[in-house]
């Protein structure tokens, strides 16, 4: 810009006046920082610190089911449909049901 260019100087001065108090807001600053590229260390920390949301109802039902499987004996509901007849030295076992084996 020529030093004698008064018109140009005037344009520059108006532009400076218009913008001298213009600064990036804190909200914009924070928003920009939020989008920055993260270092590997931060990515790992973020992964380890993340919160996992578990819905309460399914979690309780699942936990109860797991408890039931672990604690209740397997044959609890099996009907006692076996009769044993003692014949001297031998036992005769009579079952009411029968099983068909698959080939």
């Amino acid at each position: 810009m020529n030093k004698r260019d008064n018109f140009g100087m005037e344009i520059k001065s108006i532009m400076e006046e218009e913008t001298f108090d213009l600064t990036l807001s804190q909200k914009a600053f924070d928003n920009i920082i939020k989008h920055r590229k993260k270092s590997l260390r931060e990515k790992i920390q973020e992964f380890l610190n993340r919160e996992i949301e578990i819905p309460v109802a399914p979690a309780i039902i699942g936990f109860a089911a797991l408890l039931a499987v672990a604690l209740i004996p397997g044959d609890l509901f099996k009907s006692q449909n076996v009769k044993i007849i003692d014949m001297g030295g031998s036992h005769v076992i009579i079952r009411e049901g029968y099983e068909v084996s698959k080939k």
């Binding site: 018109f7 344009i11 532009m15 218009e18 990036l24 600053f29 920082i33 989008h35 590229k37 993260k38």
Partner: protein, 175 residues
């Protein structure tokens, strides 16, 4: 290693302090330029945000053939131009200029600052953009030409026409 190279290195490593330094160094400067071009504070702030987010995403591809600020500046100007295109503010050169090219050399005018201010912000952003880069950013014709990817002759022409448009409006006593 220069300060800028160190900054770029830290940006590529994802160091938070480097990102903060970058925004603190260039954020306000960029905001002011974008505001003068777009004539809208909110839009200017949006463009600055978009610019930095783009810079963060592309920093690994930055080859350092130009300076960091030049690169950031070019991104901001492209984003500003996209906004102006949406507003259909950027008319073709031939459609806009209807005045006398010689007006500047013949006319000495008393400058009414308030009117000049109105004329600057009222003029087509195609010309305002070059005026901002030349007078406000104090870039050379060559630098503007590289930044906007236009021939030096085109930049000179825009600059001269922009000035003449302002002067002619002042002579006519405003729009």
């Amino acid at each position: 290693m220069t300060a800028e190279k160190l900054l770029i290195k830290n940006l590529k490593r994802g160091r938070e302090e480097a990102y903060r330094q970058l925004i603190e160094e260039y954020g306000n400067k960029l905001l002011r330029t974008c505001y003068l071009i777009l004539n809208d504070r909110e839009e200017a702030e949006d463009v600055v945000q978009e610019t930095f987010i783009k810079v963060f995403n592309k920093i690994d591809t930055f080859k350092e053939k130009s300076g960091l600020y030049t690169w950031i500046h070019a991104i901001a100007l492209n984003l500003s131009r996209d906004r102006m295109r949406i507003k259909q503010d950027m008319l073709e050169l031939k459609d806009e200029w209807i005045g006398n090219d010689d007006v500047e050399s013949h006319v000495e005018i008393n400058i009414d600052r308030e009117q000049l201010r109105k004329e600057i912000f009222g003029m087509n952003s195609l010309y305002r953009e070059v005026l901002v880069l030349f007078y406000f950013e104090e870039l050379s014709i060559k630098e503007i030409s590289n930044l906007l990817n236009e021939k030096e002759g085109t930049i000179k022409s825009k600059l001269s026409r922009g000035r003449n448009m302002l002067k002619e409006s002042l002579l006519k006593g405003g729009r």
